[in-house]
Amino acid sequence: MGPDRLERRAVISGIGQSQVGRRLYRDPLDLTIDAALEAIADAGLEPADIDGIATYPGNQDVPPGFSGVGVVEVQDALRLELDWFAGGLESPGQLGSVINAIAAVATGLADHVLCFRTVWEASAQGSKGRSSVTMGAGGTGAGYRASGFMQWTLPFGAPSAANWIAMMAQRHFHEFGTTREQLAQIALNGRRNAARNPKAIYRDPMTLDDYLGVRMISTPLCLYDCDVPADGSTAVIVSRADAAADLAHPPARIEAVGAAIHGRPSWDQWDDLTTMALRDAAAMLWSRTDLTPADVDVAELYDGFSFITLCWLEALGFCGHGEGGPFIEGGERIALDGEIPLNTHGGQLSAGRLHGYGFLHEACVQLWDRGGERQVAGGPEVAVVGAGGGPLGGCLLLTRDR
């Protein structure tokens, strides 16, 4: 638990975000450059200072809009001279790329790593069909055959994480009596916070009746339990702590990372479907710090589906396993002025699916008191960020320089 933890040698020195919206029909590299240049400037750096890039998932043959910008496109566009870089899907969720960057700067392989995640799923959906459905590499045309994990689900008409997470939620409902009315609070809280976020996609008020009345997608998950495909890019700069001492503003400190996966890395073979893999990442996070859940001032927890957020709340110890439903009931506890303000920008359910990185961006916004109308009062000093769900999960505990 001492100060020698490797992640303490890394900080987040700057953040940036492109325009965010539905169907912007802008080139994903164009969005990425906007986010990257904003983050570099926010840190008080020049592109020439960037000697590393980390991204998720890199430029891959994946469903339309899920990827499209990799390390090489950004390196070439900005003519960066890199000493270290990494991109790829096989990591502890989207934050795995940031955790890689933390390790790289902490071990001296780079000084300032540009980390980014770019999505253009809304535009891709508009022109090429449903991008949130994972059909696996290679498309689904005539003669297409599924392999890898998808061979076990596609033949049964279960192509979407909506189906897989729904089965995890159903098991939680069964074992612990969790209800749709309770789960609704994740969506309602997100919408309330989104109303105070000018960049959020859906800002109109939502009521419990709206939630209960909307169409089902895959029981027990309804449309409002699923996040909103968006176009946008988010970037953060991970810097070596001693190289960031005199940058533009005090950085966000990395108190602890969580990247563990001990269970079976599978949507249907995971040992306890009511916990998901983020259980192991969260346990690792708390093993690397003296802070406790009671010290956390703001929580930014992945809501690709509402039920994932509930699992993060349990895994991180804000309540016991199985107690997530009663914990969020009524929504007061997780509100902006509650005991643990949650997804203060609106989350992916309302602000848009920036796929993990939006939560990290928002944690820094809150720690740096830049939240405007949605700023949590009292100057939050500790933020937890979790991204990923199902068999993927990574998390960060961030602190503000005092």
């Binding site: 055959r145 033949p155 098991r171 997608i217």
Partner: protein
């Protein structure tokens, strides 16, 4: 009958998974099993995770299972595969945690419950026999 079948995306058959996807030709739900310690392995892998023996071979299971969890899919993800239909993870009695994802068929989708006893039934698509599960009845003792 073939004309009434909806489109389904089929698995790519390999030497490693053929026993699973074609066992239905003989009416058998087969998994790899360690020939040294008896551990059932799914998805197929060339080594037993319990004892690290590479002596693994397909064996037939009872074809009975319990619904571990499920969802009624109401979204038209797949052309011609009309909702609502039940996607479930079922667990076999042969070994704790021996599970697969499947469809529960031959019943009202909204009648499916966790803990329900089910049994395998196969449907042929091209060169693949998809293992679906149907209610096994409350007696739970009937053969298939």
């Amino acid at each position: 009958m073939a004309d009434s079948k909806p489109f389904r995306v089929l698995p790519r058959i390999t030497e490693q998974n053929e026993h699973f996807w074609r066992g239905g030709r003989e009416g058998e739900l087969r998994f790899l099993r360690c020939q040294r310690c008896g551990y059932w392995i799914h998805p197929p892998a060339p080594v037993c995770p319990e004892c690290l023996s590479k002596d693994v071979a397909p064996e037939a299971t009872s074809g009975r299972a319990v619904v571990h969890t499920y969802t009624v899919n109401e979204q038209p993800w797949i052309p011609t595969l009309d909702p609502p239909y039940v996607v479930a993870i079922v667990e076999l009695p042969e070994q704790e945690g021996l599970r697969l994802t499947t469809n529960i068929v031959n019943c009202d989708p909204y009648e499916v419950r966790i803990g329900m006893q089910v049994r395998v039934t196969f449907e042929e698509y091209d060169d693949v026999w998809l293992p679906f599960f149907e209610p096994a009845g409350s007696a739970g003792g009937e053969g298939r």
